[in-house]
């Protein structure tokens, strides 16, 4: 689905009939992408009128990951430009917008604040309702507007900063079935690339290198597979890769292209195995809780771009008799269309905020489960 193109029809499932079309402007600035988007619902028909993302990869490239202060500085001076461009491309003026939705957390607080304050300025100046959106809810609700997913479904959120299974039963009803207890896989891909001298972001370059590699040459661990449940761990895998690399450096003084390919393939296979097996267990839990619903697995986050992981999850879903949704990449990684969409679902439910809206560095989606310690390159978020 490209911006400007009408996507799937939505089954609202809430009995609310919307007489007029609703247009939401969304803002996102919680990590290293500044984004704005315009999404419209016309009855059951959803269209993304524009989705603009300004990335910051080059700004952070010289450092060991996203630098919060650098990110915050960029967001504060880019977010309004991003909004202007989104409105321009959508050919919509603020007077045609019904509400402003903005990521209010979780994330890097300096960036979140820039977005929230710009949104407050827009909301006050244009006299429009303000809606604070949880960034993770944005990811988790994406399959609704890209593929018309119907509640309940199982969501695997896997990115540079997150890794968790969510049972999505409503636009404001999330249960976490498990998640990483340390690093997120995207972060591990990025670190692996750095260790192997591959380009950042690490995901795509490790995937490319892995194509010519022999995954079985190095016996990398599959952490926590021996334990029940859906929790995951990736820091041990990172360490194992570091050890294998250092052993080669010591023995040979460097790495051959084949070494890099084999290490990449071995690492990727381990991540893929863990995600696939834990997804199987999460699907089992889903079937237990919703025996009468056809199971559906959806994935979002940058790591969902990985071909091997997609293939693994596709095959798993087929074996398990579950549907599988992987939204187009531009809506898997950080974007504002998902924020506008989540805002639209809140708009329908009459859930609004006012100008005292608080920006939150941490904001678990599932208030029932214990907080996760799982962090990522962006620090603990949820």
């Amino acid at each position: 689905m490209r911006s400007g193109v009408t996507c799937h029809q939505i089954n609202w499932q809430d009995g609310v009939s919307m007489v007029k079309s609703v247009t939401i402007l969304g803002l996102e600035s919680s990590c290293d992408d500044t984004a704005a988007a315009v999404v419209r619902a016309n009855g059951p028909e959803i269209s993304v009128l524009a989705s603009v993302v300004y990335g910051q990869t080059e700004l952070h490239a010289p450092f060991g990951g996203v630098v919060p202060e650098i990110a915050a500085r960029a967001h504060a001076e880019k977010i309004d430009h991003c909004v202007e461009e989104a409105l321009d491309r959508a050919e919509v003026s603020l007077s045609q917008v019904d509400a402003i939705a903005v990521t209010a957390g979780p994330g890097l607080i300096g960036g979140v604040l820039s977005g929230v304050m710009c949104a407050k300025g827009l909301s006050a100046g244009a006299n429009l309702p303000l809606i604070g959106v949880n960034h993770l809810a944005g990811h988790a609700l994406t399959p609704r507007f890209t593929d018309g997913a119907v509640f309940p479904y199982l969501m695997l959120l896997v990115s540079g900063g997150h890794c968790q299974f969510l049972l999505v039963a409503g636009h404001d009803d999330f249960t976490r079935l498990g998640g990483t207890i340390d690093d997120a896989p995207g972060e591990a891909f990025d670190k692996t690339a750095k260790l192997l001298g591959l380009a950042q972001p690490g995901g795509p370059s490790v995937e490319r290198a892995a194509k010519d590699g022999e995954a079985t040459r190095f016996a990398f661990p599959r952490p926590l597979l021996d334990r029940p449940g859906c929790d995951m761990s990736f820091s041990g895998l990172k360490t194992a890769l570091l050890r294998a690399r250092n052993a080669l450096l010591e023995a040979q003084g460097g790495l051959t292209a084949q070494d890099v390919a084999d290490l990449s393939a071995g690492f990727q296979a381990a991540v893929c195995d863990v995600l696939t097996e834990k997804s199987r267990r999460a699907l089992t839990l889903f079937k237990e809780r919703h025996p009468d619903t056809p199971p559906l697995l959806a994935v979002a986050g940058g790591v969902a771009a990985n071909g091997a992981i997609r293939d693994g999850l596709t095959a798993l879903s087929r074996r398990e008799g579950a549907g599988f949704i992987a939204p187009p990449l531009g809506y898997c990684t950080d974007n504002a269309a998902m924020i506008a969409w989540a805002g639209l679902e809140r708009y329908r439910a009459g859930q609004f905020d006012d100008l005292t809206l608080v920006a939150r560095p941490r904001w678990p989606l599932d208030s029932q489960s214990a907080p996760m310690l799982g962090s990522g390159k962006k620090g603990a978020k949820a």
Partner: protein, 202 residues
């Protein structure tokens, strides 16, 4: 711009939300609420109260003036981002005014403008009349060496400070201005990656 434009000025570069509303050169409302944190939640409702006190609405405003620091990094971003959002929605200009320009406003002769920074340091700028110097960071001993020169410090009341932000912006409103941007002076703390890429053997 009308002859007596409504100017709304605000600043969160220090431990406060400071707001001034002027009609032309006349100060109509001025309020300072002290707080170490919580400016992001407090600022916008406070601006609405100030407008209400003067009996006007957002739509009546002609100009937004915002303090760009230097000062607390988060604080200056809060005001700058809000000012940009307001300017976009109201289709009026937002003008950023640095703390140095604010302190030097209406002062004659060569002078140093000095603003406290973290860890006992100071942000300072030396101006000779209209020729403004480069913003610097000074340690306390370095600041002490300036004795005998004219200093302007932020111990002016915050009310005067934010009112002067409005006055400086009025002086610039006749020509196009860049969008307000924070003045950090200090580069971000960031250490380069400590992982060195391996040698590739052929």
């Amino acid at each position: 711009m009308p002859p007596d434009p409504w100017v709304l000025a605000f600043d969160t570069s220090a431990a406060h939300c400071a707001v001034a509303l002027l009609a032309g050169k006349t100060r109509r409302v001025c309020r300072v609420d002290s707080m170490v944190r919580g400016q992001a939640e407090h600022l916008m409702p406070m601006l609405e109260t100030v407008l209400a006190e003067a009996g006007i609405t957002w739509r009546d405003l002609n100009l937004i003036a915002v303090g760009t620091g230097p000062g607390n990094f988060t604080g200056i971003r809060i005001s700058v981002a809000a000012a940009r959002g307001l300017a976009l929605a109201l289709a009026i200009p937002a003008i950023g005014v640095s703390g140095f320009d604010t302190l030097a406003h209406g002062q004659a002769g060569p002078l140093w403008s000095v603003i406290p920074a973290r860890r006992g340091h100071f942000y300072a700028r030396y101006d000779e009349g209209p020729i403004t110097g480069v913003p610097l960071q000074l340690s306390a001993p370095e600041l002490d060496q300036l004795t005998g020169q004219k200093l302007c410090r932020t111990d002016v009341p915050a009310e005067t400070f934010v009112e002067n932000i409005a006055r400086v912006s009025l002086g610039r409103a006749d020509r196009a201005q860049p969008r307000p941007a924070p003045l950090y002076v200090r580069p971000p703390d960031a250490a380069p990656s400590n992982i060195t890429a391996p040698i590739l053997l052929t």
